[in-house]
């Protein structure tokens, strides 16, 4: 989705305004529930490695256009300061990208929470961000895959940004989609000021594929 060779979203001619039919009420309800379940599993994994209770926000699901993605994400993350971010692509039945955004304070606190020396050098800190990003994304992708009974794989994590303003991390000109489905949840360790966001983006093609996967999921429950 960003300028990289690891992610290959179908490129979209941005001069053509694509219209994405909205999901039905049942599809939205099912998607919200599936994302709740998957994010809950990710929160549990995080709580286990941090040894702390992790408060989870109610997942937010939005259809965004490339023009408003930065505003939407900035509002969600509520942090115009510098962030660090880890990203992973997922593929197979659904293609997309997951990004874990750490508020800088969160990244600093992570080492302490995990019982490491707090004066980590840069490469140790990077490793920690990658580890936590991978843990969250792995849990969420596995949760979605198991709940929807659909095959999903995910790539190794890569560091997308370190102490960078959010608007320099998400650059519309570098995105290869015009519409994407954005799913977001916020993980907070209240006692420790730790906060990170998991964002998942699926572009046009995946939005349609997900529609039929959700219908199959709903049909299995109606039976």
């Amino acid at each position: 989705m960003y300028c990289t060779n690891t992610v290959s979203f179908k490129s979209v001619n941005k001069t053509i305004t694509m219209s994405i039919p909205p999901y039905t009420e049942d599809q939205n309800d099912a998607l919200q529930e599936v994302v709740n379940i998957a994010m809950g599993q990710a929160g549990d994994s995080l709580a286990r490695i941090l040894g702390n209770f992790v408060a989870l926000s109610v997942p937010r699901i939005r259809l965004v256009t490339v023009e408003d993605v930065i505003k939407t994400v900035t509002d969600m993350v509520d942090n115009n300061a510098k962030i660090s971010a880890v990203r992973q692509a997922f593929s197979n039945s659904l293609r997309g990208e997951a990004i874990v955004v750490f508020a800088q304070a969160g990244a600093d606190d992570l080492a302490d929470l995990m019982g490491y020396d707090t004066d980590l050098d840069r490469s140790a800190e990077q490793e920690l961000l990658l580890e936590v990003g991978n843990l969250l994304v792995g849990a969420v992708i596995t949760g979605i895959s198991e709940t929807l009974k659909t095959d999903l794989n995910f790539s190794a994590p890569s560091l997308m940004a370190e102490r960078t303003p959010l608007d320099q991390v998400l650059v519309p000109e570098q995105l290869s989609w015009s519409h994407a489905l954005l799913m977001e949840v916020n993980f907070t360790v209240e006692s420790r000021d730790f906060n990170c966001h998991l964002l998942m983006f699926m572009a046009e093609e995946a939005i349609d594929t997900l529609r039929s996967i959700l219908d199959e999921f709903i049909d299995r429950i109606q039976e």
């Binding site: 709740n36 809950g40 989870l56 709940t147 429950i221």
Partner: protein, 121 residues
Amino acid sequence: MAVPVTVVDDSKISRKMVIRALPPQWNIELTQAENGEEALAACRDGKAEVMFLDLTMPVMDGYQVLEQLQKEQFNTFVVVISADIQPKAQERVKKLGAIAFIKKPVKTLDIENVLHEYGIV
């Protein structure tokens, strides 16, 4: 006699998943509630000898329902069914009087085990 059972979840699909997972031979009178207030209303109407309760809901969440049930001294068997599966969430609802905590997506076996344990089925 049919057991009054209330399934509480703001998500329709989630309520369906719970209802589908109830033991087929269990003779129940089913009520559905979309939030905590509706759940409490069902209790006051005698429609919830057993309640399957989600935690994250608008209007009134599952934790608030448990607190209110304790205050009003209902003898409802409350089984919490939640996507937030952290051990501390489990501890918290047990302290608030829930008999069991089942993780989403719910499985028939998980529900049957709890119902057997408490001699409900």
